[in-house]
């Protein structure tokens, strides 16, 4: 796959670094270690520089995303409405810190600066769903919904495959 991504860019030109990182992340969902090494070689700069850039920008991630991505809004309005507690509750419930993915790869927990839905603060966004005026109490129930979905037998897919 990398060859098709790389061939759009002139080799040994460090100005292509960020664009390459973006394309690789687009293709893999994250930046795998082997790909960063390949980029360093292709662009002709030390791996440490590539790693430095990849960790500097929030848009890049070095671990694959979980199946469900939970984003806790930490904007001002949500902060006033105790979003810190929501985050702590999620961290406890999932057993991971913000920025990490659960071991079963089911959830990735992230924070965002502001989702832009301040009127329903505090807000948590999971995949395409938005949970407004969320309370700590509701959290296990919401997470269970996604866990149950995962546990469902995948009958539909098998049928459609035939």
């Amino acid at each position: 796959m990398e060859n098709r991504i790389f061939e759009h860019y002139t080799p040994k030109d460090r100005s292509n670094l960020i664009a390459l990182l973006q394309d690789v992340q687009e293709a893999y969902g994250y930046l795998p270690e082997g790909q960063l090494k390949a980029i360093a070689e292709y662009v002709g700069i030390p791996l440490s520089t590539v790693y430095g850039v990849a960790t500097f920008y929030n848009q890049f991630r070095l671990t694959p995303l979980g199946k469900n991505v939970i984003r806790v809004c930490r904007g001002t309005a949500c902060h006033v409405k105790n979003s810190a507690n929501i985050l702590t509750a999620l961290e406890t419930e999932l057993g991971v810190k913000a920025g990490q993915t659960t071991r079963d790869k089911l959830f990735t927990l992230e924070t965002v600066a502001c989702i832009g839905a301040c009127s329903i603060a505090p807000v948590v966004n999971i995949n395409e769903e938005y949970y407004g005026r969320i309370t700590v109490k509701e959290i296990p129930k919401i997470l269970n919904k996604y866990k149950k979905e995962e546990a469902k037998p995948k009958v539909e897919q098998e049928v459609s495959a035939e």
Binding site: L36, P46, L47, S48, T49, Y51, G52, T55, F56
Partner: protein
């Protein structure tokens, strides 16, 4: 010329000069942290800010050029407050364990805290928390002590062209580290230690062997001997406020004896031995259509570099062990036999200007039946600490001589410690071996000096020998590319990883006096020029060693004991 005033002092400065340099020219000190002479300013640390009349904010003097009529104040209340705040913020995000720190009393952050009169903790809060990286055999990285000045990053990337470490993450989480925050042992690092020399704090330091050495000395069953590299004698005096370039060989020998070493030998002896082996190997390669050019193998940083980056060219590297490894090998074979000592009881300590030598001494290729040629390596700095602890007042030490037979050396060996020295020493012997005549003028000015690449053509008996000297690993790239393209005209190439050679090794005293390197080099050339014998093949002890033990240079016994092999580390790194 530009006329301006700094602190109301009239200053004539050259166009293009920075405010920092202009101030220095009239004796005004401006503190710096990220600033590096000869490199493009980054203006990152802001400790050098000054007030320029007519400008709204404070100006970083390291990155701002002088202008006609400029009025600069380096000591206004605003400047002092800003600088003090910067120091306070750095100090509060620092472990502050000065009393138990290896850089205590030799730390730029400590100096600044004193200079700006820090007397209270105004910004107590969360501190960064990073683990110490002790993965490598030579160095430790302690990011909790890092103040993010970036001098190591620039030394590694811009000067050495390695780029093993860089800034990662940002804001409070900023950290200078290796890719994926893995150990230095699996990074591109060659352990040259140039980063240690520029680190303002103890964030980068050598891995100490001094405890092992002290324990060995106390062990009555062990026969503990020391050897000293050429470059150490020219630099150690700096730690005792002796004039730059003092040759402290005699005091070093006495000091080591007082520490408890049974014998004190000279690595220079093995440097002469190295030249005999290396010159013979070169002549064999030239006359028997071997792989050319041949590279020197004295510098373990260079060897590690080529193993990691161009293993396909390893056949070009001389198979000779480096001098201190040869000295160790001879001690545990010839010397042990001669003295009737069990070689397993001999504990060889090398005092080196180098950090990579620690890694080198741990290489499995450099041990025989689980017995390493060299058991421990002390840097110049570690030895100074051991002298201090043992109550040895270096300045008052009488001079003493090395033990023999591994203490005799020629002028050729002394110059091993500077860039071009190995080449010059090899040429003196190769000339005699090829032509059967002795050189009258043994000094090769072409290979001396601080240029990055020095090259020359030396006519020997009708044969034009093309040689090159690579001074600093950052200059190696084009030379290796030429060889890969099959276009190299050279026969013999010396490579030293540290700019200037071993005199500027990563284990040397940490000082920022710019003239120190030239003085250390001069000391080595002076030792050479004052010697009665200046060619390695004239070393009588080495001649005797061949007669009694090795037979022929490059012969069977010599190959077993004095030569080594290398490994493809690129493969290892790719899978780690």
């Amino acid at each position: 010329m530009i006329e301006m005033t700094i602190n109301n002092i009239k200053v004539k400065a050259e166009e293009g000069m920075t405010i920092l340099d202009a101030a220095k020219s009239v004796g005004i000190h401006i503190p710096t942290l990220c600033h590096m002479k000869d490199l493009f300013p980054t203006g990152a640390c802001r400790i050098c800010v000054v007030e320029v009349e007519g400008m709204r904010g404070l100006t970083p003097s390291c990155a701002y050029p002088v202008m006609e009529g400029m009025k600069v104040d380096t000591n206004s209340v605003r400047v002092r407050t800003a600088r003090k705040t910067i120091v306070e913020l750095l100090v509060e995000n620092h472990p502050q364990d000065c009393l138990v720190c290896v850089r205590n009393k030799n730390c730029e952050l400590q100096d600044l805290a004193e200079r700006y009169n820090l007397r209270e903790h105004r910004f107590v809060g969360e501190k960064k928390d990073h683990a110490i990286d002790v993965s490598s055999a030579s160095m430790e990285r302690d990011p909790a002590k890092c103040i993010l000045c970036g001098r190591c990053v620039r030394t590694c990337g811009d000067i050495q062209k390695i780029g093993a470490i860089d800034f990662t993450n940002r804001g409070f989480k900023s950290n200078v580290t290796t890719p994926f925050n893995k150990g230095l042992n699996v990074s591109d690092c060659i352990l040259c230690g140039q980063c240690i020399l520029v680190c303002p704090t103890a964030a980068l330091r050598e891995k100490s062997h001094s405890k092992d050495v002290m324990n060995a000395i106390r062990d009555k069953k062990k026969y503990v001997v020391a050897q000293i590299a050429p470059a150490v004698r020219a630099s150690i005096g700096e730690e005792y406020n002796l004039p730059l370039g003092t040759n402290a060989t005699g005091q070093l020998v006495t000091g080591l004896r007082r520490l408890g070493f049974k014998k004190v030998f000279d690595t220079n002896f093995a440097a002469d031995l190295t030249i005999i082996e290396e010159a013979t190997e070169l002549i064999n390669r030239v006359t028997k259509a071997g792989d050319l050019p041949m590279f020197t193998s004295c510098c373990p940083g260079w060897v590690k570099y080529i193993e990691q980056n161009r293993p396909q060219l390893l056949k070009h590297v001389s198979s000779c062990k480096s001098p201190h490894e040869m000295e160790g090998a001879v001690l545990k074979t010839y010397y042990a036999k001669k003295m009737g000592i069990n070689p397993k009881d001999i504990y060889v300590v090398s005092v080196m200007p180098c950090t990579v030598k620690k890694f080198e001494s741990s290489r499995p290729e450099l041990s025989e039946e689980h017995m390493a040629d060299v058991d421990a390596v002390l840097t110049t700095r570690e030895l100074v600490r051991m002298f201090k602890m043992a109550g040895i007042d270096f300045n008052d030490l009488p001079e003493d001589e090395f033990d023999n037979p591994l203490g005799e050396s020629t002028g050729a060996a002394a110059i091993f410690g500077t860039s071009g020295g190995v080449m010059e020493a090899a040429l003196r012997t190769a000339y005699a071996k090829i032509s059967g005549k002795e050189l009258e003028n043994v000094e090769f000015q072409e290979v001396r000096g601080m240029d990055g690449i020095k090259s020359a053509t030396i006519p020997i008996n009708g044969l034009d020998v093309n040689i090159a000297v690579v001074n600093g690993i950052g200059n190696i790239g084009s030379i290796l590319d030429e060889i890969e393209r099959g276009e190299s005209k050279y026969h013999f190439i010396e490579v030293m990883a540290c700019p200037g050679g071993c005199i500027n090794g990563g284990g040397q005293p940490i000082h920022s006096k710019p003239e120190k390197l030239k003085k250390r080099v001069q000391t080595l050339y002076d030792i050479d020029s004052k010697m009665k014998t200046r060619k390695s093949h004239e070393n009588e002890s080495v001649q005797k060693l061949y007669r009694e033990f090795f037979g022929e240079p490059n012969g069977h016994v010599a190959h077993e004991i004095l030569h080594t092999h290398y490994c493809d580390r690129k493969k290892i790194l790719e899978h780690s």
